[in-house]
């Protein structure tokens, strides 16, 4: 038994997430990761934007900041630049980070600033009523796409990789232990780290796409995810309808707060 109560704000429980929502499973993986990392809670800040996923910081007993829609990464960037010693974790969703906050997402990756972004991907806008998000797969139904979504979806892990992130991983809530390990690695990594977390939304997504029962959604996660090593051996036809999980990118690059600190030091020395 893991003692989650040491890390949560118990007065806010039971949480507001729907029955079968994966966000609670992510929160638990995150708490276990924080415990495993052994970082003092005083040295950690959790920043979120708006959406179901962004309710996460309200439930953890560490330094937290709940900001405006899509702007979690800019606030987190400010926190990190003001005190680079802090471990800054951004908790955001597919709508928050890749629609309204899409520019912040790619430019923070380009800058390679040392933030950890936990991006909950539930393929839809859950909180506001099931509208299409940038990750809703083509053909899937949403409240704003009653006949099926016509648009192709963003692959948000590939997007982070292309924009220059130094660590990109994808996990899911069915494989909760693996998810915990990915979060640990992402926080330890110096540089911009993203963990895309597939988290089911039975209420807004499942009900419209023949997976109304939370168990159906978990089975769907189990069946569509393929570990990276196995993915490499699959043919393009076999990859159809599947997503790879695990560490996708892990490279060392120049990190932004380090170059910024060096610049400050050199300017001070010039005086």
């Amino acid at each position: 038994m893991f003692d989650y109560l040491r890390y949560i704000r118990e007065r806010n429980f039971p949480h507001i997430w729907c029955s079968g929502c994966g966000d609670g499973i992510v929160l638990k993986a995150l708490i276990r990761a924080v415990d495993k990392l052994g970082i003092s809670r005083d040295e950690m800040v959790m920043v979120s934007g708006i959406g179901c996923s962004s309710r996460t910081p309200g439930y953890v007993d560490i330094n937290t900041l709940h900001t405006t829609h899509g702007r979690a990464i800019p606030f987190a960037t400010g926190v990190k630049l003001a005190n680079p010693k802090l471990h800054v974790i951004v908790v955001t969703g597919d709508g928050d980070a890749t629609a309204i906050g899409g520019n912040h997402y790619i430019h923070a990756a380009r800058r390679n600033i040392d933030l950890t972004v936990l991006l909950y991907n539930n393929y839809i806008y859950g909180m506001t009523g099931g509208q299409v998000s940038p990750t809703t797969p083509r053909g899937k139904r949403a409240s704003t796409a009653p006949f099926g979504n016509q648009e192709p979806a963003f692959n948000i892990s590939d997007l982070a990789e292309a924009a220059g992130a130094s660590f990109v991983a994808r996990g899911d809530v069915y494989h909760a232990q693996k998810l915990e390990k990915l979060i640990v690695k992402a926080v330890q990594k110096k540089g911009f780290s993203v963990v895309e977390i597939l988290s089911p939304c039975p209420t807004a997504y499942g009900r419209r796409n023949r997976m109304a029962h939370p168990v159906k959604m978990m089975e769907w996660l189990r069946d569509q995810t393929v570990p990276v090593a196995k993915w490499e051996r699959l043919s393009p036809e076999e990859r159809e309808g599947k997503v790879r999980t695990g560490i996708i990118v892990d490279v060392d690059k120049v990190e932004y707060t380090e170059t910024n600190d060096k610049l400050i030091e050199s300017l001070k020395a010039d005086k």
Binding site: M1, I8, P14, H15, S19, D23, V173, P214, M218
Partner: protein, 69 residues
């Protein structure tokens, strides 16, 4: 012999915080030993003696409602 061993082992203590359980059924569906059941829209520990402490129910409960000791 095997029976003696399992009898000697302390049975798992599975606790459910009913006021936090939202009845999603994830723990019931993915328990490998079929220990849990649904009753009145919430989880019920039906066969604790079969529990192997794999912890999957605790790991996947989104509501912090079930613990295994």
């Amino acid at each position: 012999m095997a029976e003696e061993q399992s009898a000697a082992k302390k049975p798992a203590v599975i606790r459910v915080k009913l006021e936090w359980c939202k009845g999603c059924e994830i723990c019931v569906a993915f328990c490998p030993r079929n220990v849990l059941e649904m009753e009145g829209g919430k989880v019920k520990v039906a066969r604790p003696e079969d529990c192997t402490r794999c912890m999957l129910c605790e790991l996947r409960c989104p509501d912090f409602a079930i613990t295994v000791e």
